[in-house]
């Protein structure tokens, strides 16, 4: 039997709905609930502990060791608190009585089970377990450091050895050493068979202190699985984005958050607006959390992060020389993959094959849905290496950038085309004034042309963007600017991007994955 079980738990207060969701915690299990601010983590934890906010409407069942505590009155709950489960909050110092010593407050808890004579010994044992010096007992919370106060609070929560501890962002106010100290204390308690539910926004805490992780977003569980698995191969687009926002996990890379958007609206998937792979169904109904084949659970209409483009076993010889040998590449929705390698290693050939400008001698290229089409919005777009050849020098900026949209019949009237072009130009950092729109493309500088080519691609709202050496012709400063701009555009537009560069350092900065060409295949 599960130690703690929630069935159809739903908490609603003005402006926010949590759930309905199901979860179960087995005895001795360490569970983390991961989510960003406002995802409903704390609401969930408080609902589990029956510490509901006054205006919250709670429904559903909460079973603690088989007893429905959701239906209990406060007096009955009081008997269970500290005995059957206990809480530890974010700012311990605020939750403790500022005028009483730590010892006095510990005794308050101990008094529920132990005779007075046993208090001092128990208190000292607890403090020792927490790794706190003896003198702490005589101090008031105001005299303690944040880490010490946090540990004191955990010691109080664990004083009666409840089988379940609920930890609400226990380490978010602590520095790295204090956090590690605190988590070591949690480890000791776990070793004694105490189950923990840790609510945190910090991936590193989940990695350190949980066997199983639940990912919460917008009041909905979007993914659940073993912590190790989940962090190594996140399935849900939100989980992936959240993990990518942690510099601890990717020390070299620049930080890019999940693209911002309006919050969840209506009855669709809560992540729909920020998602890079949403389909109409996502806006219509909330996907259920379903169990996958490997036991992990996922709530996504698309079955998790979608593979936009998959190249397999590509062989290509140019002029009798094999250039690509058994090359394989997968590009997932919303990610940036950098392809590096020395000149002549086949980077551009791979791009040309992927973009359909060169037919491979062998192998398959698969695109998800219509992602491979260049003549449709939401398809694939190529930003070619030689920007001077990629834009007709006789065209005006407006005409060049509007060309694909006009051919695809995207615009109704010139005004609409003009607006779409202006938006794209602004995205890539080009002036969108009338004077610039009417300039001849042949008069632009190399950097401007590169941006114009990118803007033209963006007018088609691509889901896959292939950029072949976008910085090859630029000086160092322009190169840095273009790469940053490219990554920013990718993040905002939410497309999957394959970017070729021979600059390994720059690739590490902007890409989620960096592949190097070796023996004619990306590794």
């Amino acid at each position: 039997m599960a130690l703690l079980e929630a069935k159809g738990l739903r908490v609603e207060y003005p402006g926010f709905v949590l759930g309905p969701l199901d979860l179960a915690v087995q005895p001795g299990e360490r569970v983390a609930v991961l989510g960003e601010s406002g995802s409903g983590k704390t609401t969930l934890l408080r609902a589990l502990a029956r510490l509901d906010a006054p205006r919250a409407a709670v429904s559903g069942q909460i079973l603690l060791a088989g007893q429905d505590i959701g239906a209990m009155r406060e007096t009955q709950l009081r008997a269970l608190r500290m005995e059957q489960f206990a809480l530890c909050f974010q700012n311990a110092a605020q939750w403790m009585n500022p005028s009483a010593t730590v010892y006095a407050q510990l005794c308050e808890v101990l008094a529920r089970r132990y005779p007075r004579a046993a208090w001092p010994a128990r208190a000292r044992a607890l403090l020792e377990e927490a790794g706190l010096p003896d003198g702490t007992l005589d101090k008031t919370p105001g005299q303690l450091s944040g880490g010490m106060a946090q540990k004191c609070m955990l010691a109080m929560a664990a004083a009666l050895r409840p089988p379940l501890l609920l930890l609400d962002e226990p380490t978010s106010a602590l520095d790295e050493n204090a956090r590690e100290d605190f988590l070591r204390f949690v480890d000791k308690l776990h070793a004694q068979g105490i189950a923990t539910v840790t609510v945190t926004h910090d991936v590193t805490v989940a990695r350190r202190a949980a066997d199983r992780t639940l990912v919460l977003y917008g009041g909905q569980l979007v993914e659940e699985g073993g912590t190790q698995q989940l962090l190594e191969s996140p399935r849900h687009p939100y989980t992936r984005g959240l993990l990518a926002s942690f510099p601890e996990l990717y020390p070299l890379r620049d930080l890019w958050g999940i693209r911002p958007a309006k919050g969840p609206e209506g009855k669709g998937c809560v992540f729909c607006a920020r998602c890079t792979q949403s389909v109409p169904a996502c806006a219509e109904r909330q996907p259920p959390l379903v169990k996958m084949q490997d036991g992990r659970k996922l709530a996504c209409h698309r079955g998790g992060v979608v593979c936009r483009m998959r190249l397999r076993g590509i062989h290509k010889a140019l002029g009798g020389q094999p250039v690509l040998r058994d090359a394989a590449l997968e590009l997932y929705a919303g990610e940036t993959v950098a392809l590096t390698g020395p000149a002549g290693s086949g980077k551009s050939t791979l791009c040309a094959v992927a973009a359909g400008f060169l037919a491979p001698d062998a192998g398959t290229i698969e695109f998800e849905g219509e992602s491979g089409r260049m003549d449709r919005p939401g398809g694939m777009q190529l930003v070619a290496q030689d920007s001077a050849a990629a834009v007709n020098p006789r065209f005006t900026v407006l005409r060049a950038a509007a060309e694909p949209g006009l051919l695809a019949g995207l615009y109704h009237g010139e005004q609409e085309a003009r607006e779409a072009v202006c938006r794209a130009l602004e995205m890539v950092g080009l002036p969108a004034g009338e004077a610039f729109l009417q300039r001849c493309a042949g008069e632009l500088s190399g950097g401007q042309l590169q941006r114009l080519a990118l803007a033209r691609a963006l007018t088609m709202q691509p889901s896959v963007l292939i950029a072949d050496e976008p910085t090859a012709m630029l000086d160092a400063s322009s190169r840095a600017n273009v790469l940053r701009m490219l990554k920013g555009v990718q993040n905002a537009a939410g497309c999957a991007m394959l970017v070729v560069t021979h600059d390994r350092a720059a690739a590490e900065k902007i890409a989620d994955r960096v592949l190097a060409m070796q023996n004619g295949a990306p590794v």
């Binding site: 030689d386 007709n392 042949g442 632009l444 401007q448 630029l474």
Partner: protein, 279 residues
Amino acid sequence: MRKNWPAFVLGGMLAALAVFFALGLWANPRPADLPSGDSLQPPGAGHLLGTDNLGVDIYAQLSGGFFSSMALGLVCAAGAFVLGTAAGMAAALAPGGAAAAVDLVIHLFLAMPQLPVLVVLGAFFGQSRAVLALIITLFSWAPIAKQVRAAAAAVRGRMYVRLAARYGGGLWYILRAHILPEVLGLAAVNGLGVCGRAILQESSLAYLGLGDPLARSWGLMISKASRFSGIYFTDYWLWWLLPPVLALLCTLLCVRLLARWLERRLPGRATGGKQDGAA
């Protein structure tokens, strides 16, 4: 404006010639095909440039020759322009076999020795100016087609055209938006070159006696004058032979220089293109 002075000078010269000869045709009371005075009259009050051996006014003959030569040249130029552009585009853009066939025809016409064939054809059909124009056109379009073909093929291979094709642009769109603007200037300038050559070829045929014997033509005038026995022992050549030679020279020079100047001004040639610095 300052950079374009050769065009203004050459164009002005052509215009001056046209005005001069227009006056010769319409303000000159002497007919170009009937005797109107004594034979071999020197230039003077009655006949501004004198008369030939039959007493026909030289000025009137010259004027008629200018307009018939110009008309022939322009017709040939237009014909070669249209034919050359179409054939060049077809050779560059038509699917496989058709392109090869057009290419073969272009090269056939390029390889044919022009003057002998012209002489033979002129001997049979030269009496009709329309047929003459057709023949000259047939021997003038091939070089234009070759140039257009090369330019169109080059443009077609450019990334922006390949992209436009992938964006869903059909052949007609690509032709109209990307290739024609690139090719038309080139073809037009080469067409102007054809104009000059056509005038020369027509005069050559006429000189050889293969043209229309009744036409008012500079070549015919030169031919008649130079065959007049003993012309160099008299002063007749000064007003009979020299004016058509000079008129031919001036006109050809103006047309050819104008064509050459325009060709250099085409974008992407010589120093016409603008060089960009890196960003």
